[in-house]
Structures are given as C-alpha cells and as structure tokens.
Amino acid sequence: MSSSLLPYFLMIPAGLGFLIPLLGRSRIRPADTLAALGTGLLLALSLFTLGKTGKHLVGGWPQPIGITLALDPLSSLMLTLIAGLGLCASIFSIRALDRHTGRSHYYSLFLLMIAGMNGVALTRDLFNLYVFLELASISSYALVAFSAEAEDLEAGFKYAILSGLGSIFILLGIAVVYLCYGTVNLPQLAERLALAPAGELINFSLILLLAGFCIKAGLIPFHFWLPDAHPAAPAPVSAMLSGILIKALGLYALARLLFNVYDLSPGLGRLLLGLGALSMIGGVLLAIGQNDFKRMLAYHSISQIGYIALAFGLGTPLGIMAGIYHLVNHAAFKSLLFLSAGAVEYRTGTRDLNELGGLRARMPVTSAASLVGSLSIAGVPPLNGFFSKLLIIFACVQAGRQGLAAAAVIVSILTLASFMKVQRAAFFGPLKDKWTGLKEVPFSMQLSLFLLMAACLALSLLVLPGLREQFLNSAQAVLSAGIMPAGGSR
C-alpha cells in the first residue's frame, strides 16, 4: 500500500515544530492555527491509513541496513489515537493558554512530542525507537514544567530524572542486546533470538528493557513520577500524557517487544499480569483519598493502565483484543476527564474538589463532559468503558483467572465510587456563592470536549462484530502472531 505516506507522519509534525518558533506574532496567531491544522492533517492521514499495512524503507536501504518504517493495524490504530487526541488537545490549548506566555514554544514542543510518538509507533528499529522515545520524553519534560512555577518545576525535575532513568535502562538494554546479537533491527533481532539458545543474557536484557518501559508506562512499582507530573502540566498536556504518551512509549513499545520480538513466554506473561493487577488495585486505592482533581485522575490512569497490562499479560487473543480496546477507550475518556478538569481550572482557578460545588448550573457543557467521562471510566453500560472492561473480565475468566476477574470488578466499583464523589463534590449539589459569576468555557474548549464526548459514545460501537473484526481483531492479530517476519520486501 501507499508506503511513501509513512514519512509524512514524522515530517509534518517535526517540520511544523521547527517552523513555528520562527513565525512572528500576528492577528491570525500562526502558532495556534498551524498546530491545529497540522494535527488535523495528521488525523486525516491516519484515518486514511487505518487498518492498512505498508512499509517504507528510509533512504531506500533494505531491512537490516537501513531503518524501516512499517505500518500494521496496531500501529495505525496508535497513529489515529495520537493524531485524534493531538487535535483535541491543540484546539483546547488555543484558549487554555490565554494566561501564559511562550505559546509558540509550547506548540512547537507539543508537535515534536507528537512526532516522537509517531516515530515510536512506526519504527522497526530498536535504537530508532529509543531516539523517538527520547524525543517525546524530552518534549514532555519541558511541557510538564511549562507554567514554570515552583511546583511545576519540581514535578518536571522529578519526571525528567525518573523517566530519564527509564530511558537509560532502555539504552543499557539495547547495549546488552547489541552485545549479544549484533543487531538492532527488530525483525532480525527476533529471528536471532529465536535461533540462539536461551540464556541468562536474554533475560538480563529483557529485565532492563522491561524496567525502562514500565517506568515510562507508570506501572505501580515504577509510578512515582506520574502523580506529580500529570497535575503540574497544563490540561491539554496532561490529557496527552495520560491519554497517549504513557501508552505509546510504555505499553505499546513493551507489547511490541514482548510479543513480536521476545515471543512472550508464560513466565513473562505472569510478570506482566502481576504488575497489571498491582497497578490496577493500587492505583484506585491511592486515588480514593485524593482531593486534587487532576491528581486523582492521575492515580486513576495508573489503575486503568493496570487493566491494559493485565489484559496483555493474559496472552490470549481475547485478552489482547480487550487490552487494545481498553487502550483506545482509555485514551478517549481519560483525556476527556483531564480536559474537563482543565476547563474547571480555567474558570475557577482551582483543582481542589472541596472548594468546588454545584458547577453544573453554570458550566453545563463541562459538567456533561465530565459526567460522560466519569461514567465511561467507571464502566457504566452504554459507554465505551463498559464494553472493554467487560471484555477484560471475560478474558480473565476464559483464561481461568477468576480471582483477577473479581478484582477487576471490584476495582471498577471503587472507580465508580471515586468518580461519584467527584461529581457530587464539584458539579452537583448547591452552587457555592463564590462561583455565582461563573461562565461556561469558550467555544474552542467546548468543541474539543464535544469531540471527545462523541468519541466516547462512538467507540462503544467498536464492540459490534463487523467493526471489531476490522479494527480490533486485526490489531490483536499483529501481537498474537508471534515474532515478526524477518527480511521483507526490498
């Protein structure tokens, strides 16, 4: 298929990212316009490539010599998510950054982050994956500290150090892999791994890579950066971080390596299962006591990431499919929740749930968005979160892990309780005197909330057999097909 399309996923965001700081300030606000146009273009491109396969040999060099960009149903799904959330977040940013300086640099970093994630989704080369992962990470460090106030700087430093440690683990893992197998090309590496006798060094490199990607994903023993970084970032950035960054850099890359290169062994699956269950339960328990809206959402991110890791860890086709579905859904509802938290903060200037109250009367759209997001994350029937959680529970039962299925149900109930608390504290109930003069957020912010709400409703259609086979099952087939084919077309 049209494989010469693939480099545009890197060229468009990177080129706009380089261009935007050069433009001056004018009435049409070139930075905002270009960022929205660029992400819109990316979304159009990725929708066009959705579900297709293709390969682009960078520089025209064949597989082990050069770097290959490859598209398969899973990576096209990731590209669509990245571009879709990028579009919503950049529309939201137009007004959300009203009170900040340095807008053009913000947009530029935002686009470079998208370029990095696109690169991670497309590349078939371990070291190139590391480079793009660092591109996305370094841009996100700067974006987390964007407001440059004391707490943001602190969160940014903590995030940069811990996530940087993850990157170093990945680099060391790559070094060990190269030391043993002499290649960084993923298909060739998979081939050599399958041929070589299983030794301790494979496991050593795997431990290093696993630790690195788990830090990036924010799974529970490695989660320390996440609850600080997400609240500190501006709302669109935290929507991106939680919605897609931790998945693209963490879970997606990890799943690629585990399933398609290391050929997931049962022991590894159990490890992933354990980490997932721990994050799922621990995240929600940590979330319950929180009063900071965004901090609570950050802990819920850990919990939901746990669901996805758990589903991947089952290793069964249904489990993988459910995991991918939940990944897509989580991107929609968690960014919706973060953006509505950002909308509340934009008008009220606070994230403390105890200070809010009765906002429903003054901010109907925001409160509807937050309600949809809350019901979806808690798994209430007509919304997308319900179906994917149900599938995960089915998969657990099918794999003979009833205990985990029960845990997933209980965590879901706890999530519902936690979000009911939010709704009662912030949106329902009597309007506090302080907020009587409040207005609804500007149109551009409402627009992105509407888009994501529509996505939350529409994504539940993916459970229908026809759509499921086209999008989810084909993506799941990529992972459950085992190690990726070597060589390839020239």
Binding site: L153, G164, L165, I174, L179
Partner: protein
C-alpha cells in the same frame, strides 16, 4: 569479562547516586554517569581486538577493511545518545537553576512539597 563487569559497576554507581542523593546537581551528575556507562558498553560491543578505526583510507581494499575494522554501528548510536544526553542535561540544568531561584537551595529534601 572483567571489563563488562566494571562497566556495570560504573552503571551501579550512577544508579546508587541517582537514588540516594538529594542534591539536584548530584542527580544531574549521576544521570550523566549512567549515560557514560551505557555508551561505553555499546562501544565495547563493537570493538575488535587490534582493529582499526572505521575510516577507510584511500586505496584500501573494502573487503580487507571490513575484516580489520571495528563496528561503525554502535559508534553512530553512541553519537546520537551523546547528543540526547547533552539535550537532557541542558534541560535538567535549566529546571535546577529555576528551582534554585524559587527555593534558594539545591537540596530536594528541603524543596519537596509534592509527595507521590
């Protein structure tokens, strides 16, 4: 063998520094030591005993050169990772400086308001 072990030891020293130190500058230093170790492991992976640098001389036979030179791929990778390390260090330095201006100290224990 001992070389690889020493490289991992260097990595361990950096890791220890990153986890035990509370000074922002020390954290940055530990980060850079960790990067040194990873880079060295990569370069060592491509070294050939009594090999030559991967630069072909005029008139040298390419086949002969391929048998006597060290591996250029890890060197290219390390160059990229050095650049990435520099970028990360500049960013960390900027954040550390700003934190100093906010709190008047580099000690993370004193400035830690957030607790994860």
């Amino acid at each position: 063998m001992i070389i690889y072990f020493l490289i991992l030891l260097l990595f361990a020293v950096g890791l220890y520094g990153l986890l035990s130190q509370r000074n922002l500058v020390k954290l940055i230093i530990s980060m850079s030591i960790l990067e040194c170790a990873a880079d060295l492991l990569l370069i060592a992976a491509g070294w050939r005993a009594n090999g030559s640098a991967p630069v072909i001389a005029a008139g040298q036979d390419a086949g002969q050169f391929a048998l006597s030179s060290v591996d250029p791929l890890p060197q290219a990778m390390v160059l990229v990772s050095i650049a990435i390390g520099l970028a990360l260090l500049l960013l960390l330095t900027a954040i550390a400086l700003r934190l100093y201006h906010e709190y008047g100290t580099y000690d993370i224990g004193e400035i830690r308001r957030l607790r994860g």
